[in-house]
Amino acid sequence: MRLRQHLHSFSIVSIIVFVLVLVVFLQLFAGFTGEASDAWIHIKEYLLFDYIKNSFFLVLFTALFSAVFGFVGAYLVTFYEFPFRKFFGWAMILPLAVPSYIAAYIYGDMFSYTGIVSRLLRGIGIVSQIDVMSLFGASMIFALTLYPYVFMTVRSSLNKQSNEIYESARLLKVSKSKIWRKILLPLSRPALVAGVLLVVLETLNDYGVVKYFNVRVFSFAIFDAWFRLGDVGAAIRLSGVMLIFVFVIVVIERVLRRNKVYYTLQGRKRLRKALSTKAKVFGYMALGFPLMFGFIIPVIYLSYYSLLTYSKTLDMELLYVTVNTLSISVVATLITLFIALFVANLDRFTTSKFFKRMINFITLGYAIPGAVLAVLVSLFFIGMDRDLVPLYQLFGVDKTLVLTRSLAMLSFAYILRFLTLAFNNIESTYQKIGPSYTEASYTLGQGKLKTLWSVDVPMLKDGLIFAFVIVFIDVVKELPLTLILRPTNYDTMATKVYQYASDEMIHEASLPSLLLVSVGVIMIYLITHRKLKKRVK
């Protein structure tokens, strides 16, 4: 009977997802059982240390730069009043629309020997070339395009902090630097760490930047082992080591976020201080630098080269690629949201420790880098196809690989990877709403699905839209998963851009890149301005 109490639509959907995720992850252990190949022995002996070292420094530099860009920006727009503050409030998020690999192609080109920056430098007599195609350059690219994660989480946390805390500190004649050290940073630490973790996970997920800059980190190594050396076993073993690396990072994040306390803004509205002239210069530089290099320059570059190359690239194929990208992104995002809604509902009301742990496991996906997930999902689908051959034959299908490299497989991988993002957004909106509306509906005799549809969904509308946008942007931009798992001859904007860049046709990549960025900008505008409008109301 207790089992029946726990079995309902929310738990059944969650259990199905759990089983699928579990089976996918079991592929990793299965891959370790075979004998180590020569390629793996070579990698372990001579290359693994470099992969670990490079990944560590790439993550470290990216985390530091993005923390500075994001935190300082969020601090300025929250605590100070200055011209264009509102503009910066939403514009600082725009670099999120620029995929890191596109920024890498742009800056790689601009700083190349024939690029505009090198030419300008030579024009003023500086002959030495700035090498951006390095580990340091890659981390700067990641920080410039990913810092909005830090900006958003920190700003949201600062907005919730009580103004009186800072006012009482000032009345106690505490110096500004001490307020930073003793109040601002400790109170913002959970948000800062959470934002930086997102940046780090995105950095580890990347394949486009590290491939183009030839920075030998884990995702580079996994692709290399699989596609150049043709050794899936070595790719799985590398995935295992990479997961340990990710696990260590997640543990560090948990330790840094311990004793988290949330302060809510009560009482009076925050009175923003005016910036002095000297501080204004610093403020505009601190806000302008990441916005300029993370968004404005890339967009100008892409617009310029799109105009120069559109006669070659604006064709039916681009339309086909755009339709592909938008359709699969919408479908995958909607399914992800649907599943996340069910899982979040189970999470809200369950008292079962098993279900709580199960949900933690289901929502691990975002921490798993795309290259690793692609390996595991591929193996899972190949195995499934193998088992289903008799069924295929029954329906007269001769092929042995039907689901492998199908759109179903690609969508499945997207859902697994981005379920965490959707779940977190829905869960936090549920927390704001509280359980009483749903409970009231139950006591009025309405069942779970009716309540979900009539009460929860209308009340979650803003959270759902936000979750849709965040997941949609990520699916549209996603490169490693799409590259490995897409059906043959199936391109999305991301793979098209990658293809141009691989063929050294960076300028021709501009138009699809610009389209990709535009999708992101429209989505970001939609959510930021929807929020602003609501606030004005």
Binding site: E439, A440, Y442, T443, L444, G445, G447, P458
Partner: protein
């Protein structure tokens, strides 16, 4: 013959015992107040009755029918929440009709008009929750629960969001409404005056058990 019977129930939350071998009963049409300070487990007891919280031991009966293992939506127990939990995206009319959608259209509207008249909300029918005063919101929450003709009505701190002046009038109104419908009602309060004004008998939670306070109306 008792209408509601609670037999030897145990309930704990995060390893903290709230109720242990607790029993309780009510007669049909009786109005009972459950009195006690914050954190004593009063609201939790209401959640146990509705099925929103699960007991680890014991049995619950309404009209001799065991409801212990039924989900909340099948217990026919209405509840007015402390914050009223009016659905903000629905009008007063939609809120009231939410729990009676299974009725035929004519019956549904008949019930709606009956509830609006009873709670004196006819002119607020098309308003939304944010357009209502505290007293009006409370009456909508009450009308919504009563519309579904529950076997038992639970009220969680029904007066906590109202100011003192409003409270006296609303207490009286509530008593009249409940009596006119012969509703069996259990309400939770921390104010002895609320209990005295409305309840036929008063109980409290002490040492994890529900105990009657004799002479509470004196």
């Amino acid at each position: 013959m008792m209408y509601l019977e609670v037999k030897d129930i145990d309930f704990s939350f995060k390893d903290e015992t709230i109720l242990k071998e607790a029993s309780f009963s009510m007669k049909k049409g009786e109005i009972v107040a459950l009195l006690g300070p914050s954190g004593s487990g009063k609201s939790t007891f209401l959640r146990v009755l509705t099925g929103l919280a699960h007991i680890s031991r014991g049995q619950l009966f309404i009209h001799d029918e065991e409801i212990t293992k039924l989900p909340p939506e099948k217990r026919h127990i209405g509840m007015v929440f402390q914050d009223y939990a009016l659905f903000p995206h629905m009008s007063v009319k939609q809120n009231i009709m939410f729990g009676i959608e299974h009725l035929k259209k004519d019956d549904r509207y008949l019930q709606l008009h009956k509830m609006l008249k009873l709670t004196n909300l006819t002119d607020k029918c098309h308003k939304y929750p944010h357009q209502l005063s505290g007293g009006e919101a409370q009456r909508v929450a009450l009308a919504r629960s009563l519309a579904a003709s529950p076997d038992l009505l639970l009220l969680d701190e029904p007066f906590s969001n109202l100011d003192t002046e409003l409270k006296a009038g609303i207490r009286l109104e509530l008593k009249e409404i409940l009596s006119s419908l012969d509703t069996t009602c259990l309400f939770v309060t921390h104010d002895i005056e609320d209990a005295r004004a409305i309840a036929d008998s008063v109980y409290t939670i002490e040492n994890y058990k529900i105990k009657k306070i004799e002479n509470a109306n004196m």
